[in-house]
Symmetry: C2
């Protein structure tokens, strides 16, 4: 009987631990502190094929730096929004604590600078862009988790 009581006590304790680990893991996965960003910029029609080719095989070091700067679920979309005028629309999620500092870190990376020497001549910033912007941030008017 003592053995059974001892085993029961251990069993109860370890089940509580299992439940706690499961909950920590679930909450850790489903509720990261995410800030959503969406940016827009023009794309020169004659550069579309080159831009797509570059991004179909983006440089691994550039992708690694993006991840290091706490960016995840990053997509870029293309559409001919007005006749002959093409725009790129990006969406990504930022999980760090200092976006400005992470962007400065990215901008200081020599390989990223080299990548931008390829991509920037393809792009045309919108006329309404902010003083320090290349891509322009958009306003979020709706969100549903």
């Amino acid at each position: 009987m003592a053995a059974r009581a001892f085993a029961k006590a251990i069993l109860r304790g370890v089940f509580i631990l299992a439940a706690a680990l499961t909950m920590v893991s679930m909450f850790g996965q489903t509720q990261p502190p995410v800030q959503r960003y969406s940016l827009v910029i023009g794309l020169r029609p004659e550069k579309i094929e080159y831009y797509k080719k570059l991004h179909a095989a983006a440089w691994p070091g550039v992708l690694k730096k993006i991840k290091e700067c706490h960016i995840q679920n990053y997509s870029i979309y293309l559409q001919e929004v007005e006749k002959g005028k093409f725009y790129l629309f990006s969406y990504f999620e930022y999980t760090g604590e200092d976006f400005e500092a992470d962007m400065a870190k990215m901008a200081a990376d020599p390989l990223t600078q080299k990548w931008w020497k390829e991509t920037e001549p393809c792009q045309i910033p919108i006329s309404r862009r902010g003083p320090k912007e290349w891509w322009s941030r958009m306003e979020e008017v709706f969100h549903l988790d």
Copy 2:
């Protein structure tokens, strides 16, 4: 000694269970079968405030129907892409198995139809839209998880 061996065996078994539960929970959360969509449409300048107001307090029944149709992480962004020309860009993730069928289900919902009677007069489809499109789908040229 028998009690200790018994307790040890239970301890080992329940730790394996705890580890298994944690892993199931982690993988279940991080790898849903997601298809990303991004759409674009124009927004009439004189309707911007009304459109924003509508979406700041979107109807609960409309949101419920969106979820029922397997759409998650749904955002809409706004920017003045060209002088005096405003565009809405949407991004969402589809987790169902038949997108066409889910969209038909949404379109058949009377409350969603009523909602669209409010939103559609605010919007201007792009000239390049497909035959059955209202919002136009964009092409994904880059993605990083």
